[in-house]
Each structure stands twice: as C-alpha cells, then as structure tokens.
Amino acid sequence: MTTENEQIIIARARQGEEEAFTLLVNKYGPRLQQMVLAMVRNPYDAEDIVQEAFLTALQRLETFKGDSSFGTWLYRIAYNRTIDTLRRQREVTVETVYSSSREEPSDFGQLDSKAEISKALEVLSPEQLGVVFLRHYQDYSLREIAATLNVPIGTVKSRLYYAYSRLQAELSKIREAEQKWSI
C-alpha cells in the first residue's frame, strides 16, 4: 500500500466504504492491537483504545498536518489513549498494571528475563512506558517516535534515556533481591 494508494483508501473509508476501512484495519489493526494490549494488559481496554484510535484518526484527519503516514497519526492517537488508560488504571489500584503478569520466583528465587523486564517496567511512568514500547516493540527510530508523538526529538531522547536509566536501576535491585533470596 503506497502512500498515494493509502490516501485514496483513506478517502474512500471516510466516505463510508467499508472495504477501504477493512484494508486499513488489516494493515494496522493487529499490530496496534498487540502493542496496546502489551501495554495496558487488559483486552477490553485495548479494544476500546484501538476502536477510538481508528475512528478518531479517520474523523479528525484534517487536524493531522504532518507529512507522515496515516499510521503515524493512528499511533499518536492510540498512544495518547493508552497513556490516559494507564494513568486511570494506576489511579484505581496501587498494584500496577504489570502485577497480574508478575511471575513468582522459581525454585531458586530467580526470575526469568521476561519476568524481570515485566517487573522493572512497573516503575516507569505511562509516558516513559509508551516511548519504550514505540522504540522496542514497534521498532520506531527516535525520529519516528518524535513524529508519532508530535514532540521534539530531544523530548523523545529525554524520556527514553530516563526510562533506560530507571529500568537499569530497577533491574539491578531485582537481581540483588534475587541473589539474596537464593543464598
């Protein structure tokens, strides 16, 4: 789907042609759904976010003045909705969104790599978490993240590097605790 073709498809989708909408959903839907789901950890919240992202992206396309693709616009909306949802989730419970997936230490008190990361991500703010996901899940470059979030690249670096710093510190703590546990 070239950019030109995509513009035609978007125009058709906005005129109510469901076939065109289906093409957009097929292209962006599954990946977006998976990323949002990985962040909010709740299938119903993820579904709401993806629905809102697609419909808002089409309805408010005029307000998107970037040179980037529809995908950028879609991910920007999804990102903002996801951040809102994460904030709400964290207000509701002291336990963070990753608690449900926290894996118990194994027989020797060791968390596997996935569990370590999952636990460490709990310390990040929603904004930092979002940037980490765009970088490492979506494999976006710093510039692509900046375009998606409509922020200067310096802001992206700042959020991302701070997230790395916090993750590194948190992983150190987790590993120290594991070592104590295993002794």
Partner: protein, 209 residues
C-alpha cells in the same frame, strides 16, 4: 576527556552524536574501560528490552471479535454504503431495472393482441387452458409439424386466424356451410371438437377458394 554520561552513551548507540564530537567520543570509548562497561550494560538492556517487550502481550489475548466490533462501530459512525453498491452493485442494479421494465412491459403485452405469424402455418398448443380441453391453433395452412400428442386428442381447435376482417368472415361462413359450428373470438375462428385432419382439410379447401 571526562567520562561519557548516560545520555551521551545512549546517543552514541543511537547515532545521535554530532559529527564534530564523534571522533572524540570514539577515542574515549576506545581507551576507557569504565565507559566501555557502561556502554555494554546499556546495550544489554536494550537487547533484553527488544527481546522481551515483543512477547509481553503474548499472555493476554485480544478480546474475541474485536475486529467485528470495530467494523460495527465504523458502520454506526459512517453510514456505510451497502456492499452491493460497490464492486458488483452496478450489474445488480441494472438487472433489477431490467426486471422491473420487463414486469411493466409484460402486462401491456397481454392487453394487446399478439402478432400472429403470417404465411405458412404454425401449429402450437396452449398448455395453460383452465378447461380440460386441449386447444389447437392453426395459424395458416401448411402445418409443417404437428406434435403427436396433439394429433391424438384434438378436442378443440382454433382453425383460423387473421387480422383481415373480410377474410375471417369468409372463412366463418365456409365453416358454417360445411356443417360445423364455428365461433368467432377476436380475430380467431374456433371450432370445437374438430378432428385435426378434418380442420386441416377444411382450411385447405377454404384457402383454395
């Protein structure tokens, strides 16, 4: 040169160091074990993140039917044109219009007299008569082929048809003279319970006259 800070090390990994500083940074990294170790830790963290973040959503499945509901919302938001109005919609509409015209045309056809073939004969059955009678129509003289089933039970026949009133009247009178009881129906002359061969013979005679 002082040690590289966390941001500089990350910028180095992201190719975000200014060109004029890049050589200095490289030179420092080449010679500084501490910065090398820190760089290695950051790399490891990034590698681990890329590997693990991909699978984080794997244990939570999307709500079943999310795409269906997304399409439903789309339909509610946009007054979606029916599917048939797109790829194959036009041929379908054309076919419907043709059927409509045909439906309007057929009753009109029934109201006006059917055009009768002129010249050589056509013998055709009327299958849908409400009465138990069979009816034969002889639209002329030279019957080329008479279906066998009709020959065996010719209980009723239209023996002559014409749009020429004088001709019809002449045939009518000839049939009466022959002792038959012809009946006029529009531009047809009917003779009931007539033997097919007899009808053919009569018409042949009349036509000769």
């Amino acid at each position: 040169m002082e040690h590289l800070n966390f941001t500089q090390l990350n910028e180095y990994l992201d190719d975000e160091i200014n060109k004029d500083k890049l050589e200095l940074v490289r030179a420092h990294l080449f010679s500084c074990t501490q910065c090398q170790q820190e760089l290695s830790r950051i790399k490891d963290l990034r590698t681990q993140l890329t590997k693990e973040v991909q699978t984080l959503g794997g244990d939570v499945k999307p709500a079943l039917g999310w795409e269906k509901r997304l399409h439903q919302r789309y339909r509610e938001t946009y007054r979606v044109k029916p599917q048939w109005n797109r790829s194959w919609g036009r041929p379908v509409i054309a076919a419907l219009v043709a059927l409509l015209l045909l439906a309007l045309y057929l009753p009109l056809q029934n109201r006006v007299p059917l055009r009768r073939p002129s010249g050589p004969s056509v013998l055709e059955p009327i299958e849908n008569l409400p009465s138990p009678h069979k009816e034969l129509r002889l639209f002329g003289l030279d019957q080329q082929k008479v279906p066998e089933s009709l020959e065996t039970r010719p209980e009723r026949a239209v023996v002559y048809t014409s749009t020429n009133e004088d001709e019809l009247e002449q045939v009518y009178q000839e049939l009466q003279k022959a002792g038959l009881q012809p009946v006029r129906r529009g531009n047809e002359i009917l003779v009931e319970r007539i033997n097919l061969q007899e009808a053919e013979r009569l018409i042949a005679e009349i036509t000769k006259k």
